[in-house]
Amino acid sequence: MSINTELTDDLNHTSVKGYMMVFGALLVLTLLTVLMSKIHFGLLGNAVIAVLIAAAKASLVIYFFMHVRESPRIIGFIVLGSFAWLAILLLFTIADFHAMYGEGSTSLPHAMPW
């Protein structure tokens, strides 16, 4: 499981150097997400790009900072399981609402006072 000796210590824990590299990557991705929001890919396109970059950042935090890399395998299953459940909730809701009310659909919701 060890990546290489520089980035892990003798107990296969991530080293300080490894943490700093993850920190650098998180800062670069933060800059990237701000820059990408300045370019127009359409309302949906920008949202998808932003969520993908956020997911990449979250994965780095979970895998390295939250020590899933060096934890028992069942912890990884719990992480994947929770996000799989969240994906079911989100994707089916999006599919449903997008089909009914998304861009280009004719059945707009009733105008609400708020």
Binding site: L11, H13, V16, Y19, M20, F23, L26, L27, T30, T33, V34, S37, L43, N46, A47, A50, V51, I53, A54, K57, A58, V61, I62, F65, M66, H67, S71, P72, I74, I75, I78, V79, G81, S82, F83, W85, L86, L89, L90, T93, I94, F97, H98, Y101, G102, E103, P109, A111, M112, W114
Partner: protein
């Protein structure tokens, strides 16, 4: 895992009586805290689902709402919170190496960065209050329209508030508020753990409070990693 030497029958003072070994205790508590994390993911998942539904229903409100946020304060807070994730992972690293003073130092830095985040957040909330953009408490269509028009980067003049704009701000306050509440709880936990650390409750073999607080704090960081682009950028 070759590191099973902790399964020895020797009974450590910090081993709870209902666990057979330190190894079993560590594995069980780690599993428990991760199940709590799973619950937290689904708790915030509900809020993100509400966000998504109303975003589909009111795309213009969401677009103009995000444009009305202060991008630089949001970016600053993102960097600050990522920084606090690094300081807390360094605290865990120090705990693993039995460096009690270092644990103290990194926890203190984490609390300082957390305070900076709160300061910036308070400024942002204050601006919304001044602009009459707090749904349910202090909302005024005229003021809100003026602020949104000022921030919108569109060529067409905005003459009226988009439908659903108060829903955007309601969700903004609920989601960032829930996130901030988690941070307040984190502050309390951090101080409690610093006291335990000062009393010498932890060593290189036993530091679950430090490790699990780290997991909690990283989770709060992850929530913000998603909140920032969804509320400020798109």
């Amino acid at each position: 895992m070759s590191n099973t030497s902790s399964t020895s029958t020797e009974h450590k003072p910090y081993q709870q009586h209902h666990f057979d070994s330190m190894h079993q205790q560590t594995q069980s508590t780690l599993l428990g805290i991760w199940l709590f994390m799973a619950q937290e993911i689904l708790f915030f998942g509900g809020l993100f689902t509400a966000y998504t539904v109303y975003r589909i229903l009111y795309p213009t409100a969401w677009h103009l709402g995000a444009a009305s946020q202060n991008l630089w304060l949001g970016t600053l807070n993102t960097v600050v919170l990522i920084g606090s994730s690094v300081t807390i992972v360094m605290a865990v690293h120090a705990a693993r190496h039995n460096q009690r003073m270092q644990v103290m130092k990194w926890f203190a830095l984490t609390l300082i960065l957390g305070s900076v985040f709160f300061g910036v957040k308070a400024m942002e909330y204050g601006t919304k209050w001044d602009h009459h953009m707090v749904p349910g408490l202090r909302w005024d269509d005229g003021h809100a329209l003026h602020t949104i028009r000022e921030h919108a980067h569109s060529d067409t003049e905005i003459t009226e508030l988009p439908p659903g704009i108060q829903l955007y701000y309601s969700l903004y306050f609920v989601m960032t508020g829930m996130h901030a509440l988690h941070m307040v709880i984190g502050f309390g936990l951090a101080i409690w753990i610093m006291i335990k650390n000062a009393r010498g409750c932890f060593n290189a073999e036993y530091y679950p409070h430090v490790e699990y607080f780290g997991l909690y704090w990283h989770f709060v960081d992850i929530v913000w990693i998603f909140l920032f682009p969804l509320l400020y950028l798109v």
